[in-house]
């Protein structure tokens, strides 16, 4: 039954600590992976369980000892969880250098959380030229050395196998995104669970569960009439936000969300040197606010995707004080206006308790699209 599988996604999505304890009780070592992109394939190949650390909707207290209060709440909540012991038992955390706030997270982590090793992953801005690929590869080699210090073993053959596992997961996530566009009866909250649970399960388990879900879904008929929308942003997993989407009959027909589809758009290409191939994957990734590209193809990607999926509008879910996303928003807004595609902007953060402004905004957007 579809609902039975959705329940499994939900359980994994809301209980990352239980998932972590399960893996550790099986004798596995967990390595946390901070937003936005980390070489999970590499971590996986060295015998660790990579587990997404995207923070949580919590009150921020101790993190303010290290960050100005207004800084990105996703990053602050990751540090807060680190300080209050929510990640206890993890062997390390890999933090990439993809935005200014993430850079400071790594440096602060070293002093604030001394029982979980900080592993930096420094990416180049210019990732596509040969020198950019070499820079990325050097960053991965640094990660390998740090993971070896924790008992991991690097083996190119193992990495090649892990790449297959991750490419298969990418493919199934792209498929589920496409299939869900035709199933309005699957709620925004359920869709969010499918994507969020991927951070807390091994990719082998998650791939199997998504395949089971797709098999079950194929036995049912799509139902319900809703307003198709494309959602864009860093993170859209807040239960209250998804509840509002569902309450107003909005159907997410595609997403440009960093914690969702952006993770799965690009596969590692085939090659004799798997580490080189992994670096090439990063070079080939695009359409994301934290991946530098002066031509900003992301903007047209959103418009084209919205049209291809027959979306009535685009909702930008802006994480407050996220500079990369705010820079892109202006271009997205102009492109949507030019394409006659209605656009709404809502602001969220990890500390938000009251979603009344978001609710009013999306209710009005619903009216605008349907009146």
């Amino acid at each position: 039954m579809v609902q039975d599988v959705l329940k499994k996604f939900h359980e994994a999505a809301v209980s990352p600590r239980a998932q972590m304890d399960k893996y550790m009780s099986e004798g596995k070592k967990v390595v946390l992976t901070a937003p936005v992109y980390t070489p999970e394939e590499l971590i996986h190949s060295m015998g660790f369980v990579p587990m997404g650390a995207w923070g949580a909707d919590i009150e921020l207290n101790r993190s303010k000892e290290y960050f100005p209060a207004f800084l990105c709440s996703i990053v602050q909540s990751i540090l807060e969880l680190g300080i209050n012991g929510a990640y206890k038992g993890a062997s390390a955390i890999v933090i990439p250098s993809l935005c200014d706030t993430l850079k400071t997270l790594g440096e602060n982590w070293k002093y604030a959380v001394d029982d979980i090793k900080f592993i930096p992953m420094t990416y180049p801005q210019n990732r596509k030229p040969a020198y950019g690929i070499a820079f990325t590869k050097a960053g991965y080699e640094r990660v390998i050395r740090d993971l070896e210090a924790l008992g991991g073993k690097y083996d190119p053959a193992a990495l090649a196998e892990s790449i297959k596992v991750y490419n298969a997961h990418n493919a199934v996530m792209r498929r589920v995104d496409e299939v869900l566009a035709g199933h309005p009866e699957i709620t925004a909250a359920e869709r969010s669970d499918i994507f969020r649970s991927a951070f807390f399960m091994t990719k082998e388990e998650h791939t199997a569960l998504v395949e089971e879900f797709l098999d079950e879904l194929a036995k049912t008929e799509a139902s319900g009439e809703k307003l198709g929308i494309v959602v864009s942003g860093i993170l859209t997993d807040a239960p209250q936000l998804n509840k509002i989407f569902d309450e107003f009959g909005m159907h997410i027909v595609a997403d440009d969300v960093a914690a969702q589809s952006r993770q799965y758009r690009t596969d590692v290409p085939e090659g004799d040197d798997p580490l080189e191939a992994l670096a090439v994957k990063f070079a080939e990734m695009d359409n994301c606010s934290v991946l530098y590209n002066v031509k900003k193809p992301r903007v047209q990607w959103i418009v084209d995707t919205a049209k291809a999926r027959n979306a009535k509008g685009v909702v930008v879910v802006m994480t407050k004080f996220c500079d990369p996303e705010e820079f892109d928003y202006v271009m997205i807004k102009k492109a949507c206006e030019k394409a006659d595609l209605p656009l709404a902007l809502v602001e969220v953060d990890r500390q938000m308790v009251h979603f009344e402004q978001v609710r009013t905004n999306l209710e009005t957007f619903r009216d605008m699209l349907s009146m």
């Binding site: 209605p342 009344e356 402004q357 009013t360 905004n361 209710e363 009005t364 957007f365 605008m368 009146m371």
Partner: protein, 258 residues
């Protein structure tokens, strides 16, 4: 066909009774928005103006920040939709609504047909809202309704540089201590609100005819400052504070006649 629109704002409750979506029968307004007392007192004022009773109403629609907690309505709708409908009812060629309420500011743009085409809202910040004026009136020991007349005596509006209401409060106190004339300070405060709201309006796009709705619309100093800021005429109607409630009543009528 009688429809009742109730707009429960953050500082004021308004209600309007309409007949056949075309005629305003009665209105009610009570300062004190959220909670049960404000809307009920506004309704009492409304019932006192008409022979109709609650039993005669075909549909009641509630809007505004208090809409979710109000029991006794047949439906609820966002205040932006209502301000667009209400504004267009008063000004049939309306294209831009600037709504400055007690807690926030919103800009709504309409197409030629009256269809809502865009909107922007300020987030949780009191700058550029009625609350900003409330705080400033309090510092100046004035009634909010006195600001308008006081500003009209200004010769050189003071500059209020702080965006944040809390910091602006300190700034106004400092300027008072430095002997800046009260009318100049009040005019500067109104200019400050206009500056914030003007920036918001430009984000949405401003097409004439432009009107103001919400309680702050009554303040001609803010209105004229906005006209200078946006370089466009801003229409005003004495019913501006009721646009949300009118829109709610019209929304109810549309539902009944759809």
């Amino acid at each position: 066909m009688l429809t009742l629109g109730i707009d429960i704002g953050s500082t004021t409750s308004k209600c309007v009774l309409m007949e056949d979506g075309s005629k305003i029968i009665a209105t009610g307004l009570k300062i004190g928005g959220l909670g049960t007392e404000g809307p009920e007192e506004a309704l009492e004022e409304l019932w006192a103006q008409t022979e109709y009773t609650r039993e005669d109403i075909d549909r009641t629609i509630v809007t505004g920040y208090g809409r979710n907690k109000y029991e006794g309505a047949d439906g609820e709708v966002s205040e932006l939709t209502c301000h667009a409908l209400g504004g267009r009812f008063i000004f049939p060629d309306l294209r831009t609504v600037i709504d400055i309420g007690g807690q926030d500011a919103k800009i709504i743009t309409l197409g030629e047909s009256g269809r809502m085409t865009n909107f922007v809202m300020n987030d949780k910040c009191a700058a550029g809202t009625g609350r900003f004026l409330d705080v400033m009136a309090n510092i100046l020991r004035m009634d909010i309704d006195e600001l308008d007349e006081c500003a009209s005596h200004s010769e050189k509006p003071a500059s209020i540089s702080s965006t944040c209401t809390v910091f602006a409060e300190s700034e106004v106190i400092s300027q008072l201590a430095n002997g800046v004339a009260r009318p100049d300070l009040v005019a500067g405060i109104c200019e400050s609100v206009a500056s914030r709201v003007g920036a918001l309006a430009r984000r949405a796009g401003v097409t004439p005819r432009v009107c103001m709705s919400g309680g702050v619309a009554k303040n001609s100093a803010v209105r004229h400052a906005l006209e200078r800021n946006l370089e466009t005429e801003i229409s005003f109607d004495p019913m501006a504070q009721y646009f949300g409630a009118i829109g709610a009543a019209l929304y109810g009528y549309r539902q009944l006649t759809k």
